[in-house]
Amino acid sequence: MPLRDFLPQGEMVFPLSQHIGKPAKPIVKKNDPVLVGQRIAEADGFVSAHVICSCSGTVKAIEKRRVLTGAMMDCIVVDNDGAFTPAEGFGQREDASKLTNDDILARVQEAAIVGLGGAGFPTHVKLRPKDPAAIRYIIANGAECEPYLTCNDQLMRTRAAEIVEGLELMLRLFPNAEGVIGIERNKPEAISAMEAAVSGKNRMRVLPLKTKYPQGGERSLIQVVAGANFPITKLPADVGCIVENVGTIYAIQRAVLYHEPLFSHCLTLTGEAVKNPGNYIIRDGTSFSELLEASGGLKEGVTLKKALCGGPMMGIPLGSLDVPIQKQNNGLTLLPEDPCEIAEAQMTACLHCGRCTTVCPMGLLPQLMAEAADDGDLDRYEKKLYGLECIQCGSCTYICPAKRPLMQTFKQAKAEIMARKRAAGGK
């Protein structure tokens, strides 16, 4: 499913917080004209990101709108004129050799790039670790281990040279680092495209990975590439690694060489309920429902039961499709049936079969963690069983033959422990 550009016609909604960190502050007012690529909200502080307009038109309102988590959030609503008139100052390729490291970092920050793998962590923060010389690996995450999602695969097949250029720019910031492009073996075309683009380049290689969820998890990748396992309290930079999604690296290339801010990214529309699945370069702020309708809608006779922003393993369930697509959203999976509902009906007591232990990418003991959490023994959960190390990948829950809601239990237990810690710290 090749990548296609999707140009929305309807109103565009830009949440002020699409990233991890403080929400941005609007710098436009109602009725202001806006252009593609124009900054409409400023980052508030270092760990924050700007908001970029992805269409041309006029600001309709700055108000609370429902976003994909189901919450109401401050958003800038833009009446899209459908012309997509770009703002000035980007689009022309520049000679990168004259750019200093600070220029590169500044352009990444200006372009409002966040991690497109899903978390949405501001990239300019990630690229400024305490000691750049200690970074040994820049890992380009092309694993795309979520089932159903294929847009990164398409991006790597069609934008291999651009991704490699982006990686080269990143490597300039880290003199001792090697660039490793990790791709799961189930994407042979992407692997060969990237290998072709990498050939002849220094400090760079493609690393085919075992096809296995959660191979694209930051920690799983670091484990494979650097052989390092590290506690949840540490960051990848602490073990000399920086992991960026290939989509993010492509965005870095656009930002640095073309001065182009991030206002579009790739997204997979998929799921058994979709009539025409496909991969799109989608503009931020487009509503999920507009994309679905324009693509041809649902399959005939199918009722939508569950909509996921992302893939089935870690996707966020949507209560409604009338919410805007954010920067880091890379999939819309629409299912005619809810596997969670089916699983709930099959739930039995824990068998202690140990399948969860076998699949846990962190080496935890989910069956005992669930037991401790259910017993309310959070001390045991945290200290004996290292329950805070859970990365909530959902592998245990997926594999559980007794269909226990393990990850839900862990989420709650972790939230409760963190709340207690905050309360204890506040005294």
């Binding site: 396992n229 506690p231 209560g319 596997p339 039995t348 068998l351 399948r355 080496g363 290292y386 559980c400």
Partner: protein, 524 residues
Amino acid sequence: MNTALNISSSPHTRDKWSTAFIMRVVTLSLLPASLVGVIVYGWNALLVLALSVASAVASEFLFDKLTHKGDTWKDGSAVVTGLMLGLCLSPSAPWYIPVLGSMFAILVVKCCFGGLGKNFVNPALAGRCFLLISFGKVMSAYQIVDGVSMATPIAALKGGSAVNITQMFLGTANGVIGSSILALLVGGLALWALDIIHGQICFSVLISFTAAMGLFGGQGFDVKFLLAHLCGGGVVMGAFFMATDYVTSPVSRLGQTVYGVLIGLLGAVFRIKGGAPDSFSYSVIIANLFVPMIDTYILSKPFAYRRLARGKWDGSGPLLKRVPRPVIVLTSIALIAGVALSGVYALTKGTIEEQHRAAQAASYKVVLPSAESFEVDAALDQAVADLNGQVYGSDFGRSYINEVFIGRDAAGEIAGYAISATSADGFDGNITLAVGVSPDGTLNGISFTELNETPGMGMRADEPEFKEQFNGRTATRFKLIKAGSAIAEDEIDSVSGASITSSAVVNAVNAALDFFHTTVKGGN
């Protein structure tokens, strides 16, 4: 747009395997053994299996209904428990054995402790041990293959005799319904290949058991000896199906290995020093009881905290440091148990032998009342030694000649010969008796020195009505006939309802007489 979309925590996809599916696969894996059992032992074996499974499921159904626990009987775990229990029973077990066993397993061991996932020992094994304790004699009555009465191979092995390993492997020897090692291996290895059971458990059981038998079994690493022990007494069943029970085995890989080794060692200790052929069940159950302790001390740490994985990252705390402690504790427990058992055996060995000798001497006196003293004869001793502890002759079942004494009267004349003979074909182990023979070949009488038959049945062989039939007879070989009709000189009335015991006694006496006529008289 559709506004009623489902919201739930991720993941939004699930593996196809469910509890019921796993139970179905385990049930399937037991079918080869069940099939072989039914083919070899006949329809009664099928009846035992059916009753066992049916009453297990019915018990759980009943418990569900009485306690409003939902429909847990549908998950298929009761079928597995029932089938496993049935396979561990004698094919000739009466109907109430599988029924009571399954009821105990499901109602007491499983349901009363919280149902699926909460039982603290393996329900099927607990059911079996319950039956062994409550109905010992019925439980150890193994059926007869091809109409021939035989002890189970493992009892025979204990008795020191040779067993047919091929028969044991194929499952055509005497034993429980699920005694075909081949069929059990097919099922067990399939489960392992499907990742349903953990290899570290079953293989550590087998390896540690074999190693311990080789080291302490007294026969070294003799392949035949080890194979016989591996193929008998439920070792394979225990290793693949019982020890691997999810609920009653440890969580971490290391814990599972320790647990498996514990089972293997306990099994070997019981096999070498203990008496019961069913001891492997007990070793699994005892190891089950250690599981909470293993799970307390041997918890694997997350990758980030493991010493081996630490690599370039050195911020984590002490890692596998605590692991050796429980390993040491458990190994010590196993060693102490072994040493204690051997110690008690060594301490009492002398006394036991003395008492044995006294009993022997007393019984010689009984069968040769006119003798004042008994002496050994070098030539006869050599003749006994030449038998090499092998089965005597070919017409006397599994009979052995133990020793021969010459009895002399007050005048120093030979009053007769006392011959000790053993038959291993008793209903419940060995029968050893002393036979007194006058120099002219007249049988003075017999006296039992070892008799462990069923009270009220086989034990009645020791009553005068049966054993005094031999007194004063001159026949060189006796025939056993049905009770109440012996007239001829060479006929002996069977103890009613104990033909196995009676036949073993007659075989032992015949062996002793044969030895007298061919060796004592022939040799002199």
